[in-house]
């Protein structure tokens, strides 16, 4: 069975990429072995304490917390991109595995297909 890596590199709410990529991850995890890699502002997708009520938008970040239940194996983050934003893994609402650049390179090569914006 092929392994799919979903990369998320957009922040939440500014565009629809975050929400729609999450939909693709949920679908992927139903049919294949999937992992998720958060790069750049994609890390903000899982920042704790999001409240989009005043924006009349949906707080879909909670769905990230359920990804394990859907069968997603691991959520990885770039340690460098995390640090550049002044964030630590404790600030995120899901358990993530931070990777250095070589770790990200390895992850890309371990997967057969890479999806995501």
């Amino acid at each position: 069975m092929k392994r799919i890596l979903f990369i998320q590199r957009h922040g939440p709410h500014g565009s629809l990429f975050g929400q729609e990529t999450l939909d693709a991850i949920l679908m992927g995890s139903a049919f294949a072995s999937c992992s998720v890699l958060l790069l750049e502002d994609g890390i903000y997708q899982v920042l704790k304490g999001q409240d989009a009520g005043q924006l009349e938008s949906r707080d879909y970040s909670v769905t990230y917390g359920a990804l394990r239940d859907y069968g997603v194996e691991t959520i990885y983050v770039s340690a460098r991109h995390l640090a550049a934003r002044g964030l630590a893994t404790e600030d995120l609402l899901v358990e993530t595995v931070p990777l250095d650049d070589a770790g990200v390179t390895g992850l890309l090569h371990e997967h057969d297909v890479i999806l995501g914006a």
């Binding site: 565009s15 629809l16 924006l55 938008s57």
Partner: protein, 130 residues
Amino acid sequence: MKFAIVVHGAPYSSQSSLSALHFARAALASGHEIYRVFFYHDGVLNGTALAAPPQDEIDIPSAWQALAREHTLDLVVCIASSLRRGLLDETEADRYEKPAANLAPGFVISGLGQLIDGALNADRTITFCA
């Protein structure tokens, strides 16, 4: 004070139309006038009559229509941008022999002259970029 509001982004795809909508509501609530809302680039897609967003999400094209009904707003989508992106009123659908029209009531298709007219005649012009 009279505002011209320019919207460059498609609804949902970019937050710009939601921001513009919030700004427009706040301007009207503060007693200001909205001279025109001009939808340019992908912004013209705010004028679609066919969007069917999930029920727990805001329906942005409908929200513009509701605001326009309440305050008699001039909602103009740029014709050149609309033609490339497949947004047509009855007249344009006939002219280009297309099978349907999809411009929502409350919006009008017009030319770029309306952008310049807004910039010249409003006291302030603010752009919400994609």
